[in-house]
């Protein structure tokens, strides 16, 4: 059974390792400051005892006042999973660091979010629209998209 690690278990370890990186700890998710997302993700991927080496999915949600990017990562050995979140508070050019360097599977998914939600992933090797064409007006999955 995949055990979703409750945020509490992870938080204390993360807090000692990265002081100030945790913005908020939900019931089953950890909200990380977007500039320290990469470091936290790398730690969770490689550190002994965690080894979250499998990225289930990435998605993004538009909450009007901020964009939230959601990552679920799983450890195949210990069969546990955790949800990471990062936020971007601007609407003009929201930016989140790219995790393609850690998980190659993030490539297409980040491009998809860039295409449909308009979130730029810094450090992505090939960030361009994936489903729609160059010059499509707007980002369809945003809540204020008008056809």
């Amino acid at each position: 059974m995949t055990v979703a690690i409750s945020a509490k278990e992870i938080i204390s370890q993360l807090n000692t390792k990265f002081p100030g990186a945790i913005e908020e700890a939900g019931a089953d998710s950890v909200l990380v400051k977007s500039d320290s997302l990469l470091a936290v993700a790398e730690y969770l991927k490689t550190a002994e005892g965690f080894k979250f080496e499998y990225l289930n999915y990435i998605t993004a949600v538009d909450y009007y006042s901020y964009f939230e990017v959601v990552y679920q990562i799983t450890s195949l050995e210990s069969n546990r999973s955790v949800v990471l979140k990062a936020r971007s508070y601007t609407r003009d050019n929201p930016t989140v660091p790219s995790v393609t360097g850690l998980w190659q599977g993030a490539d297409f998914q980040e491009r998809e979010i860039y295409d449909l939600m308009g979130i730029t992933f810094e450090g992505h090797p090939n960030l361009k629209r994936i489903f729609l064409w160059d010059g499509f007006p707007g980002y369809p999955l945003r809540k204020d998209f008008n056809q």
């Binding site: 361009k128 064409w133 160059d134 499509f136 998209f145």
Partner: protein
């Protein structure tokens, strides 16, 4: 002559993407109106003499009895089309079976699936590449009007915005029987086509400038 080594004649992929985007916008802008059904002539009074009618009959018989299909399978309906070709329904009983990967060898396009704006220029290109005479069957609700996806931002509301359609098959997806029936309808339609042109409509080489 020396061939320059820098390959500026090869487009980079971003340039190709840009060109594709331009093409899509062009097609999108020019496809606001539906293309008229090309079968207005069906009701016309047939004014042909006996000899030509018989020639017509022979040519039409040849045309309708071996329809070759171009591959244009964007989405779900394709599976019902394959089922219609497959072992149980076996469409080849009706003189219609061969799938052609190249549109240049085909004379029928069965548009099995949703058409998106990104795909629209390609479908039009396939249609233009098919040699005359050619026919189109719009399969499924998506092919007719956009169907369940009509309100989406990327779906063309019906193939008749892009290519002229001869026969529409409703259903989401249509059952293979419905598709076979549509092919038979198309065959009936082809049987009525006037192949040999009316002599009075031909340009007369003796009287230049006039018909």
């Amino acid at each position: 002559m020396e061939i320059s080594s820098d390959k500026d004649y090869i487009y980079t992929s971003s340039e190709l993407d840009y060109q594709e985007g331009q093409l899509i916008e062009e097609v999108k802008a020019s496809s606001r109106e539906s293309i008229q059904d090309p079968d207005a002539w069906l009701d016309e009074e047939l004014k042909r003499n006996i000899l030509l009618t018989s020639v017509d009959w022979v040519l039409d018989w040849a045309r309708r009895s071996s329809l070759w299909t171009a591959i244009c399978f964007p989405a779900c309906c394709a599976f019902e089309f394959i089922a219609a070709e497959g072992p149980r329904f076996d469409m080849s009983r009706f003189g219609m079976e061969i799938l052609r990967a190249s549109p240049r060898q085909a004379d029928l396009m069965i548009t099995a699936g949703t058409l998106t704006w990104k795909m629209a220029p390609n479908v039009r290109r396939i249609y233009n590449q098919m040699p005359d005479p050619k026919w189109v069957i719009a399969m499924g609700a998506c092919g007719i009007s956009g169907g369940i996806f009509r309100s989406s931002y990327n779906v063309v509301p019906g193939y008749n915005k892009i290519v002229p359609v001869d026969v529409y098959v409703p259903g989401c997806p249509p059952r293979p029987e419905a598709l076979i029936y549509a092919v038979q309808m198309l065959q009936k339609k082809i049987a009525k086509a006037k192949v040999v042109p009316d002599l009075s409509e031909l340009p007369n080489p003796l009287r230049k400038g006039k018909k």
